[in-house]
C-alpha cells in the first residue's frame, strides 16, 4: 500500500514560505493597517458588529459591492457613522469602485488591495482558491483572472527561480503565459541568474479535458471530495461519520499520516488498509502489557501521544469510509459507474441514453443527471438531435423551466451540444484558425467558437490509448497505469497529455491529438537553454490547471511521478469535481 517514492525522487520546494508570506501580509493588513479585532464571515445579512469601523475582505465582485453598499446605506438611514474599509483580494477592479460610486457610498469607504493568490493546501498542492474562474472564463468569456494567474506565476518564478521548460495547451493558458512572460520581461533581472528549482511547468486549460472532470471519482481523496466536499483542504465530517452528535472539521493533507497513505488509493483497497492499520495499532497498544515501569514510562511519554492521534485519525477515516460505503455500494452507484464506463468506451450508447433518461425521470439528482448528459455529449461529439430534445424536455419537466438557461450555458461552454449535421471538421477548423492568426482576435475568447468545437473524444481516446485493454481483472491493488484512478477503465486525458509531452519534451508527434483537441495554434513549448538546471530540478514538474483540477488527476499524476521518478507539484485555480463544474453552469433561482 501507499507506494513510496523512488529513492532518487527530487525534494519538493518549500511552500511554507508562501504560507508565511500570506499570513504576515494579512496580519499586517488587518491589524496594523486597519486595526481589525474581530472577524466575521461576509454573508447576505446585516452586520451585527457595533464597532466604529467595519473592514471587508472580499473578492472583487459586484455582488459583494452591492452588499457593502446596502450596509453603508442602512447605517446612513439609521444615522450611524462608521468608517468602512474594503480590502480587495487579490486585486481591486474598476467596476467595483464604479458600483460603489453608483450606489453613492464611494466617499464613505476606503479601498485597499491584498495581492494574495497562492494558498498552499498541501506540500505539493497550491490553490488560487478562485472557484469562480471556471464560470467567469469558460462560460462568460471574462478574462479578468488571467492577470491574477500571470501574477501568481510571476511570484512563483521570483521565489523558486525561472522555469527552464514550459509547455502549455489552451487559449487561456496561452494568454496567461504571454502575460506572464511580459511581466518577467518588464521586471527583467530579478529572476536572471537564479538557479531554477522547478524544471518544468505545464499549463493546461480545463476545457482541454472536460471528460476527466466529469467522471465519478473512486480514489479515496476524490471520493471524499465528491461525498463531503473538501473546502480549502479541510472537510466537515457530519454526525454520520463521527458517530456522535457533532460534526468534525478535519484537515486533509500530508500531515495526516493515515490519510496520506490512503488518499491516492482506489476505494476498494481503503477499507482493507484501514482495518490492517487498526490491527497494527491495537498490537502496539497491546505491547504495554508486560512492560515494566520504566518501559511504561517511556511508552507513555513518547509513543502514546502518537498512537492516540493515529487512533483518532483512523476512527475518523473509518467513519468516513463507512459513510461512503453506505452511499456508494448501493446498486445505483454501481450502475452509474457502469454507465460511465460504457460512455467512455463508447459502447451501448442507446442503453446509456435510456439509463440517463430514467435517471432524470426519477429525479435522482439534478446535478448528476446533468453530468451524465454532458458526459454523453462530449464522448459522442454532441447528442443526436432527437436525444438532445427529449433529454432536455425530460430534464425541464423534472427540475423546472429555469434550466433552459442552464442548457444555454452548457451549450455555450461546449459541454452539452447537439451533433451538427453537415458542418465538417475541417470547415470549423479553418474558421477557428483564421480567428487565431488575426492578432487581435487571438486574444478573444469568442464565446461562440466553442459552439462549433467538436470534442473528438473518441478519436483522441484511440490515439492516446486512453481505454486500456485489459486481459482479465484489473488489479487495483497493484496499479499498472494511471487508469487505476477510474477503476482501470480510463486513463485521464489531461494526465495522459502531460505524460506524453514530458516524455517527448515537446508537442512533437502529437500534432494530430492537438488538432483533435481544437488547439492547433494553442499548444506551445518554450525551452530555454539552462545549464544551471540540476538533474534533480529537471524531474520536478509544476502542473497548472486553469479552471480547476480534480483529486483524481492529482492522484494519477502522483502515481505517474512514482513510476517515472518525477515529482509533480500542482497549481490550480481551485479544486473541482463534476458537481462543482455542473453547479457553475447551472442557473438557479435566486
Amino acid at each position: 500500500m501507499a507506494f513510496p517514492h523512488r529513492p532518487d525522487a527530487p525534494e519538493l520546494p518549500d511552500f511554507s514560505m508562501l504560507k508565511r508570506l500570506a499570513r504576515d501580509q494579512l496580519i499586517y493588513l488587518l491589524e496594523q493597517q486597519h486595526e481589525v479585532d474581530k472577524l466575521y464571515k461576509v454573508e447576505s445579512k446585516p452586520a451585527l458588529s457595533s464597532n466604529e469601523q467595519l473592514c471587508f475582505l472580499v473578492r472583487p465582485r459586484i455582488k459583494n459591492m452591492r452588499y457593502i453598499a446596502s450596509l453603508v446605506n442602512a447605517d446612513k438611514m439609521a444615522g450611524r457613522t462608521r468608517k468602512y474599509k474594503v480590502i480587495f483580494c487579490p486585486q481591486k477592479f474598476h467596476a467595483c469602485e464604479m458600483v460603489l460610486e453608483e450606489e453613492g457610498v464611494y466617499g464613505d469607504v476606503s479601498c485597499d488591495e491584498w495581492a494574495f493568490s497562492l494558498l498552499p493546501l498541501d506540500v505539493d498542492l497550491l490553490s488560487m482558491e478562485l472557484p469562480e474562474f471556471f464560470r467567469d472564463y469558460f462560460l462568460e468569456g471574462d478574462q479578468r483572472w488571467i492577470n491574477t494567474v500571470a501574477q501568481a506565476l510571476h511570484l512563483l518564478s521570483t521565489l523558486y527561480g525561472p522555469f527552464p521548460n514550459c509547455y502549455g495547451i489552451g487559449r487561456c493558458t496561452k494568454m496567461s503565459y504571454e502575460l506572464w512572460r511580459r511581466l518577467e520581461e518588464e521586471e527583467d533581472g530579478e529572476t536572471k541568474g537564479r538557479r531554477p528549482e522547478i524544471g518544468h511547468i505545464f499549463l493546461l486549460d480545463r476545457d482541454v479535458d472536460f471528460v476527466t472532470a466529469l467522471c465519478s471519482q473512486v480514489v479515496y481523496e476524490g471520493l471524499v471530495d465528491d461525498t463531503f466536499r473538501i473546502k480549502c483542504g479541510s472537510v466537515d465530517f457530519g454526525p454520520e461519520v463521527t458517530s456522535s452528535d457533532r460534526s468534525l472539521k478535519v484537515l486533509l493533507n500530508a500531515e495526516d499520516k493515515v490519510f496520506n497513505e490512503i488518499r491516492n488509493e482506489h476505494f476498494s483497497n481503503v477499507f482493507g488498509f484501514l482495518s490492517q492499520k487498526a490491527r497494527n495499532l491495537q498490537a502496539q497498544y497491546d505491547r504495554r502489557r508486560g512492560m515494566d515501569i520504566k518501559q511504561m514510562k517511556n511508552f507513555v511519554s513518547q509513543e502514546l501521544k502518537g498512537l492516540k492521534q493515529e487512533h483518532r485519525l483512523l476512527s475518523v477515516h473509518i467513519g468516513a469510509c463507512e459513510s461512503i460505503m453506505k452511499k456508494k455500494t448501493k446498486q445505483d452507484f454501481q450502475e452509474l459507474i457502469k454507465t460511465e464506463h460504457a460512455l467512455l468506451e463508447g459502447f451501448n450508447i442507446r442503453e446509456s441514453t435510456s439509463y440517463i433518461e430514467e435517471h432524470i425521470d426519477r429525479q435522482v439528482s439534478p446535478i448528476e443527471s446533468l453530468r451524465l448528459m454532458c458526459l454523453l455529449s462530449i464522448t459522442e461529439n454532441g447528442l443526436i438531435p432527437k436525444d438532445y430534445r427529449s433529454l432536455k424536455t425530460q430534464y425541464l419537466q423534472s427540475y423546472g423551466p429555469e434550466h433552459l438557461l442552464t442548457f444555454s450555458n452548457l451549450r455555450r461552454a461546449g459541454l452539452l451540444t447537439e451533433q451538427a449535421p453537415g458542418d465538417t471538421l475541417t470547415a470549423v477548423e479553418s474558421k477557428v484558425s483564421k480567428l487565431v492568426t488575426d492578432k487581435a482576435a487571438g486574444k478573444i475568447t469568442d464565446a461562440f467558437s466553442s459552439l462549433a468545437k467538436r470534442s473528438n473524444f473518441r478519436a483522441i481516446s484511440k490515439k492516446l490509448n486512453l481505454i486500456p485493454r485489459v486481459d482479465g481483472e484489473y488489479d487495483l491493488k497493484v496499479p499498472r497505469d494511471m487508469a487505476y484512478v477510474f477503476s482501470g477503465a480510463y486513463v485521464p486525458l489531461s494526465c495522459r497529455i502531460i505524460e506524453q509531452v514530458l516524455e517527448r519534451r515537446s508537442w512533437q508527434g502529437l500534432d494530430e491529438v492537438v488538432r483533435l483537441l481544437n488547439c492547433s495554434e494553442l499548444a506551445f513549448t518554450d525551452t530555454t537553454k539552462e545549464d544551471k538546471a540540476s538533474s534533480e530540478c529537471l524531474r520536478l514538474i509544476l502542473v497548472v490547471f486553469l479552471g480547476g483540477c480534480t483529486f483524481s488527476e492529482i492522484s494519477a499524476l502522483r502515481f505517474l511521478g512514482r513510476e517515472k521518478g518525477y515529482r509533480f507539484i500542482f497549481l490550480t485555480t481551485a479544486i473541482t469535481n463534476s458537481a462543482r463544474l455542473m453547479e457553475a453552469m447551472s442557473e438557479v433561482k435566486a
Binding site: I62, K63, R66, Q91, K92, F93, H94, A95, M98, V99, E102, E140, G141, D142, Q143, R144, I146, N147, A150, M175, E178, L179, R182, E185, E186, D188, Q331, E357, E358, D361, R362, Q363, R389, K392, T393, Q394, L396, Q397, S398, Y399, G400, P401, E402, L404, L405, S408, A440, K443, I444, T445, D446, A447, E587, K589, A590
Partner: protein, 815 residues
Amino acid sequence: MDWDLKEELRDCLVAAAPYGGPIALLRNPWRKEKATSIRPVLEIYSASGLPLASLLWKSGPVVSLGWSAEEELLCVQEDGVVLVYGLHGDFRRHFSMGNEVLQNRVLDARIFHTEFGSGLAILTGAHRFTLSANVGDLKLRRMPEVPGLQSAPSCWTTLCQDRVAHILLAVGPDLYLLDHAACSAVTLPGLAPGVSSFLQMAVSFTYRHLALFTDTGYIWMGTSSLKEKLCEFNCNIRAPPKQMVWCSRPRSKERAVVVAWERRLMVVGDAPESIQFVLDEDSYLVPELDGVRIFSRSTHEFLHEVPVASEEIFKIASMAPGALLLEAQKEYEKESQKADEYLREIQELGQLTQAVQQCIEAAGHEHRPDMQKSLLRAASFGKCFLDKFPPDSFVRMCQDLRVLNAIRDYHIGIPLTYSQYKQLTIQVLLDRLVLRRLYPLAIQICEYLRLPEVQGVSRILAHWACYKVQQKDVSDEDVARAINQKLGDTPGVSYSDIAARAYGCGRTELAIKLLEYEPRSGEQVPLLLKMKRSKLALSKAIESGDTDLVFTVLLHLKNELNRGDFFMTLRNQPMALSLYRQFCKHQELETLKDLYNQDDNHQELGSFHIRASYAAEERIEGRVAALQTAADAFYKAKNEFAAKATEDQMRLLRLQRRLEDELGGHFVDLSLHDTVTTLILGGHSKRAEQLARDFRIPDKRLWWLKLTALADLEDWEELEKFSKSKKSPIGYLPFVEICMKQHNKYEAKKYASRVGPEQKVKALLLVGDVAQAADVAIEHRNEAELSLVLSHCTGATDGATADKIQRARAQAQKK
C-alpha cells in the same frame, strides 16, 4: 570668467546658485523709463561665465533674484508676483505672494534653501513679512507683526530651526525673532556694549551659525539658536559691509566669516588677527557648503579653509605620514634611495595606512589635475607596501575626481568641490547636467560609473527625448525616428512619458507615433484617453490583457460616445463586449437588453426574458408576459425547442395559478414533475392524470412518478391497482425496490413474482428470498447471477443454498 560684461556688477541685480550653480544678472534693474532701449536685460551665465540665456525684461520692476534648489530662477517683482524661469531663460510659471504683498509692494526678498526645498521670504512696504517654506508647494504664511516697528529693519535673515523657518530682524539695537505664532525680542549672549544698530547678518550654509555686524565695527559670531556665543571680533571698520557670509567646512572646528566691502575682503574668526585681501574689482560672494565662491568681472575664485589632510601634507616641513609618503614617491621617481628612507620612517611608525588615506583625501580636495595625480600616485605607491589595503576608497576617489574634473571644465562650468559633490550626490549632479542639456556628458558619466541603466543612461535618454519633442521645427516623423533610434528598447525608458510630454507641447500626432514604440500596451492607454483617442485606447487596452484597463476605457467611451456609437464600438471588440455584458448583467439590466437587441441576438434576448420571468417579475401576469416575449425571441432565433418549452412553461404557470386558487397549497414555480407529484400526494389523482395528458408526460416518467408518490403515501392498495392497470413500462423491479425502501417486505414479494426473468434474481434477493433466487439463477445458468446470489448467502442460514449453487457450478463446468 568667460563673460564679457559691460557693466560693473554693482549695477546689476546678481544671484548665483549654490553648488557651482549658474549666475543670473539683471542689468539696469532700477530704471523706470519705458523706453525699450534701456529696458532691463536678464542674463544667465554658467559659473564659468558662458552665456546660457539673455532676454529683455518686459514685466514689472524686479526687487530680488534667486535660484531654487532645482536651479530655477525666481524673479520677485515689486508687486509680489514671482516669475519662474528655467536655466535657459525659458519661462516656467508664475505665482503671487498674496494680496497683502500686492498692496504694500515688496521691499526686500530672500530665497533660502531648506531640506523641504526652496523658500521665499518677503518684506513688504508695511514692514510685514510673508513667507513660503517651499515655492514648489506654495503655502503663504504671514508672519506676526513686530510691535512698534516704524521703519524697515536695518537687516534681517531667515533662520531654520527644527524644520521651521523663522525670521530674525534687527531694528536699531533690538533683535526680534518671528515665528508663526509670535514675535519675541531676543538678545545676543555676550554682546559687546555700545551697539546702536546692526548693519549686516549672515547665517551659515547649514543654518547652524549666525554672525552679526554692528555699527561699531564689531562682529558677533554664535549659534543660530542665539544661545551661545562662539567668538567675537572687532574690525574697527564702521562702514556697512557689502556682503557678509560664513566660510566654514562641515565638521570643522574652525569658524570664519568673510566680510566684503567695496574693495576689501576680510576673513575673521576665533583669532585676534584677521586675514585681509584687497579686491581689485567689484566682487560678489556666494556662500557654499565648504567655503565661499568669489566672482568678479574677470575672475572666479574659491575661498575655503584648507582641509586637514591637505594641510598635513603641504604644511612646510610637515612630518605627517602623508607628507612623507608624497616625498617618498617623488624620490622614487627620481630613482633615489631616499624613497626607501622615507618609506621606512612611515612604516616604523606604523602609519602607512594613514598616509595612504591622507593622500587619497588630499587628492580629493585638489582642483588641479597634476596635483591630484601626484597625490594619487603617492597613494598608489604607498598601497604597494600594504597588505590588504581595501582598494575601493582609492578607486572611488579616482572615479570621483574624473567626474569632477570633467564638470569643472569651463565648457561645462560646474565648479563643485569634492565635499559639495558628495553632498549633492551623483543623481542630482546628473539631473543638473540634464538640466543644462549636457546629455552626452551625463551619459558618459553614467557609463563610466557603471550606474544601473534604469537610474542612469535610460533616465537621461528619456530626458533627452523629452527635450527632443519640444523642437518644433523638426517633423513628427523625424523626431519619432530619432528618438527610437537612440532609445531602442533600453530598459526603464517609458515611451509613454515622452509621449505625454509631446502631447503637452501640443504634438498629438507625434505622441501617438511615440506610443507605438511603447512595449507595454497598458501604459499607452491613459495618454490615449487623454488625447481623446478612445477607440485606439480600447484596442490597446484589450491588447494588454488587463481587463480592468479595458473597463476603464469602456466607461470613458460610454460617457464620450452616444449610445449607438458606443454599441457599435463594442460590437467590434468581443472581449470588451463580454466584459461590459458582465457588468450590465449585475448593474444595468436594461442596457444589457439593448445590447442584445442591437446585435439581433435573439437567443440571448430570450434567455434574458426567461431570467426576468422569475427574477424580476412578481405577478403571474408579468411573468407570463415576460415568457411570451422570450418565446417570441426564441422563435426569431429559430430555437423552436426553447420556444416550445417556454410556451409550455407559460401554460404550466397559468395552470399552477389556477390550482392554487382552486385547491389551495403551493404550486407556482414547481416543475411539471413536482406539480403532478404534489397533486397525487394531495389526493387529486384525476387532476394529475389530466395534467399528465395535457403536457404529454411520457408513460415511463408517469409510472416512476406515481410509483414514488404512492409509496410515499404508503397507499399500497392504490399502488397495486396501479400496477395492474396495464403492463408496466418500467418493469416491476422498481416496485420491489420501492416497497423494500419503505420496509414493506410483504408488498414487495407481491411484485417480485412479476419481475421479468432478467431481473428476477435481483428482485428475489431484494426481498431476501435467497433460496428461490438461487433456483432461478441455476435455471438461468448465469454465472454472474450465481456469484451474486452466492455473495448474499450468509453462513448459517443459507448453507444449503450455497452448497446447491456450488454444485450447479461444478455441473456447469463439467459440461
